[in-house]
Amino acid sequence: MSPAGVGTTAAGLVRSRSSGRVADRDGGPLLPSAQAKRTERIIGIGAVVAVVGTVWLGLWVTPPDQTQGDLVRLVYLHPGVAWVALYLAFGLAAVASLLYLWPRTRSLFWDRLAAAAVEVGVVFNICTLISGSIWGKPTWGVWWVWDARLTSTAVLAVLFLGYLALRRVPSEPEVRAKRSAFVALFAAVDVPIVHFSVLWWKTLHQGATVLNPDLSPTIHGSMAWTLLLSFIALSLVFAWMLLVRYRIGVLEDRLGRGELESALAERRAEGVVADEDEAA
C-alpha cells in the first residue's frame, strides 16, 4: 500500500505523483534536488579555490622556519588532513552512530552518514600517516617510529578499516547498521587517545600547535593564516566528499534492494510459467 499521491517503482523507489521525483523510502530523495546540486557545486568550487590558495601560500608566500627551514611548509598539509580525519570524519561518525542507536532518532540516514564519514575519514587518515612519515624522515631521520602518537593513529586507521570491512558482510540493513554503530563507537574511543597521546606519554611527535591545553597557538602571522586556510580548504574537501559518498550510499542501498526484488520477481514468474506448463 502506498500513501495517496505516491507510487512505487520496480526498484522499490518511491515516486511522488505531484512532482514525479523519485525518493528513498527512508525519507531522503534518491536523486538530489537542484538546490542540493547547487550547494554541492559551490562547496566543490570553494574547496578547489581554497586548496589552490593554500598550496600557493604554503609553498611560495610564507617564510621558511628558523629551525625547520622549508620543511615547515608541511604544516599546511599534515595537521589539516589529521584534523579532518580525527575530528570531523571520525567525530561525525561517532555522533551519527550514537544517534542511530538512540531509539528516538533511529534512522538509516544516520547509518549512511556514519558510513560515508568513515570511508572519507580513512582516506584522510592514510594521508595523515603518509604526510607525517614524509615529514618524519628529514626531521627524525626515520620514516616510522613506534611512538604513541603514530601508533595510535595507525591503530585508528586499522579500526575504521575493520568498520568498512564489517559493512561488506551481507546482512539486513538494520542489523548491519546496528553492529556498525557499535564498532564505530568502539573505534572512536581511540580519537581522544590520539589527541592526548603527546601529553600522556613522552613522544617524538611534537605537541599540538593550535589545539594545545592553553588554547594559545604557537604559530603567528602569515603562517597562522595559511594554516587556518588549510584547515578550511581540507574541511571543504571533506564536506564535498561526504555529500557525494552519502549519495552513493543511498543509491547502493536502493539499487541493491531493487535488484534483489527484481531477481525474486523473475524467479516467481519462472515458477508460474512452469506450473502453467505442467497444468497444460
Binding site: 520496480a10 526498484a11 608541511l74 592514510i126 557525494v244 543509491l251 539499487l255
Partner: protein, 56 residues
C-alpha cells in the same frame, strides 16, 4: 624542499584520485537508478497500459 614537494604531491594526488573515483561511482549508480526508473510503470498505471502510443 624535495620532501615538501613529494608530501604535497602524494597527499593531494590521493585526495584527487579518491574524489574522481567518488564522482565516477555516483555517476554510474545514478545512471542505473534512472534506467530502472525509466523501465518501471508510472504509479497508478497498470503494467498492461502502454500509454497513448498503444491507441494508434
Amino acid at each position: 624542499m624535495r620532501y615538501v614537494v613529494v608530501g604535497y604531491a602524494v597527499v593531494l594526488g590521493i585526495l584527487f584520485f579518491y574524489a574522481v573515483q567518488l564522482a565516477w561511482r555516483r555517476r554510474r549508480l545514478t545512471r542505473a537508478a534512472l534506467r530502472i526508473e525509466a523501465s518501471s510503470p508510472e504509479p497508478g498505471r497498470s503494467p498492461g497500459d502502454a500509454g497513448p502510443a498503444a491507441d494508434r
